[in-house]
């Protein structure tokens, strides 16, 4: 009965850990994908900036730390693009007396996290009218991932403590049942290691079985959820499929993490419960 409680507690902790890991991995993967899409800063230039000045600005932008590539887009090109984008509606632009669009620099960043720094630097240039970048959306995703990591971390920590406690109690029951035998073992000169051995093995087995069950549950249920979502929300999933972390990609790591943690919980639980009883 107590053994069942121990195994379930290890399984529960690891399942929650597994899902937190999967969510974090997925949100990270999404954020990473978003970074790739949003890692550009668009700089609008003032109309009265002359060519020489524009050229110099381009060179200076390249020198800013975190800038990977700089490309220039003339206002005429921008207008052409807009016309193309508007298609049949392009007639609305015909009455324009002058091109209202600015010359722009499109700056590719090495890393989206540098966008703020780059923005600050660019802002100080003369001739810059405005800057647009997608930092916020990415920032939100990263914040969500961090939040899940933090909350998940705390939940896992608390559950870990609980399962160590449950396992140590399970072992304690066995130890109490056999405490006369343990005492006798110590009187006849059995070493502590010899006395601990069977109980440690019991703890390890409880942790091991718990983690095996957790691995099975996680891999089946995650696969099921992915299939369900892709059936139900096919269109949405098509767009995101590149960023979804499949179970096959993480199964090996999951097995290693789960077995290590499961067995670790078992060993720790046994050690705690035995410490008190090896005092004769």
């Amino acid at each position: 009965m107590m053994g069942l409680a121990s195994i379930s507690s290890v399984t529960a902790v690891l399942i929650i850990l597994g899902f937190v890991l999967i969510i974090v991995l997925n949100v990270n993967s999404l954020a990473f994908g978003a970074k790739e899409t949003f890692d550009e800063v668009v700089v609008y230039l003032l109309d009265d900036t002359d060519e020489k000045q524009i050229e110099e600005m381009g060179k200076a932008f390249k020198k800013i730390d975190g800038v990977m590539e700089v490309s220039f887009q003339t206002k005429d090109y921008a207008l052409e693009q807009l016309k193309k984008d508007l298609g049949d509606e392009a007639y609305i632009l015909e009455d324009l007396k002058r091109n209202p669009l600015p010359n722009t620099y499109i700056i590719q960043l090495e890393d989206v996290s540098k966008s703020e720094y780059v923005e600050e630097k660019i802002q100080s240039f003369e001739g810059v009218e405005g800057i647009r970048y997608y930092d916020e959306a990415v920032d939100k995703l990263i914040k969500i991932a961090d939040f899940i990591k933090k909350i998940g971390g705390w939940i896992i920590l608390i559950l870990l403590l609980i399962s160590v406690f449950i396992i140590s109690n399970t072992i304690k029951v066995t130890v109490l049942n056999r405490h006369k035998e343990i005492e006798l073992m110590q009187y006849v000169g059995a070493t502590n290691g010899y006395v601990r051995g069977p109980f440690m093995i019991e703890g390890i087995m409880l942790g091991f079985i718990g983690s095996l069950i957790a691995i099975l549950i996680i891999s089946f249920s995650y696969n099921y959820i992915l299939n369900y979502l892709s059936d139900r929300y096919m269109m949405m999933m098509v767009g995101m499929s590149g960023y979804i972390v499949g179970i096959d990609m993480i199964l090996k790591d999951l097995i290693i993490i789960f077995l290590t943690m499961g067995i670790g919980i078992g060993v720790l639980g046994s050690l705690i419960s035995l410490k008190k009883f090896l005092s004769v």
């Binding site: 006369k180 035998e181 006798l184 000169g189 059995a190 070493t191 502590n192 010899y194």
Partner: protein, 231 residues
């Protein structure tokens, strides 16, 4: 040789269990530790087993200061001794044979040696025919004989017996003492704590008497204490 040098043990709340104990026990000696309940007999035995450490003083066993033995080495130290308890402490789910073999298994003896030694020791305590019995099928005296067999199976240098006759009638007690005397004759030191003066007086062995944690008498040989004068 076992030697207690100015040994004191103070438990919590300033309760002094034994005080300034000076005692030398030679190899091969048979020694009774006597005294009423609370006199400090059990504390003395616990100190010798290295179950507790003295608050003051030094205990040496063959020249080794046992108070300095590290926890992980206590097991090895205890292998030099065999223990017999008042309540026998046999494992109820094991047969007589298995209870004796248990002590050998715990120090990792090979099964061949176990098969050879256990019947010899059982025959020494007169229980060859009860090897397959379980403890609850035996009388108190028989159970204590199994416990003695278990204590001597690993050929210890000393046997420490804490009230081994405490739960037995006079006749059975005599049998136990006879076995312990036999073991002693083979060269094993025997230290026995008891409050049964009849046994002590009938044995004519060295007697160390404790009262309120202090040795009040150490009668080296052919000792005899007149109980009537005690009260």
């Amino acid at each position: 040789m076992i030697e207690f040098c100015n040994v004191s043990k103070v438990y919590k709340k300033e309760f002094t269990a034994v005080k300034d104990i000076n005692l030398k026990i030679q190899d091969g000696e048979f020694l009774f530790i006597v005294g009423k309940s609370g006199a400090g007999k059990s504390t003395l035995i616990k100190l010798l087993l290295r179950e507790i450490n003295p608050s003051d003083g030094v205990i040496t066993y063959s020249g080794q200061n046992i108070t300095k033995i590290k926890k992980r080495n206590v097991a090895k130290y205890r292998r030099k001794m065999g223990f017999v308890f008042q309540d026998y402490r046999l494992l109820p789910k094991l047969t007589v044979y298995e209870n004796v073999a248990f002590a050998m298994e715990m120090i990792c003896c090979d099964s061949k040696t176990i098969r050879r030694e256990v019947p010899l020791v059982l025959s020494m305590v007169g229980l060859s025919d009860k090897a397959k019995y379980y403890p609850d099928e035996l009388s108190g005296g028989e159970q204590q004989r199994v416990a003695i067999a278990r204590a001597v199976i690993n050929k210890p240098e000393a046997i420490i017996a804490d009230e081994p006759t405490g739960n037995l009638d006079a006749e059975t007690s005599k049998e136990i003492i006879k076995i312990l005397t036999e073991i002693n004759k083979r060269g094993t030191t025997v230290i026995m704590a008891t409050h049964d003066m009849n046994i002590v007086n009938s044995c004519q062995k060295r007697i160390v008497e404790l009262k309120r944690g202090v040795i009040i008498r150490d009668i080296k040989t052919r000792g005899c204490i007149d109980e009537s004068k005690e009260n």
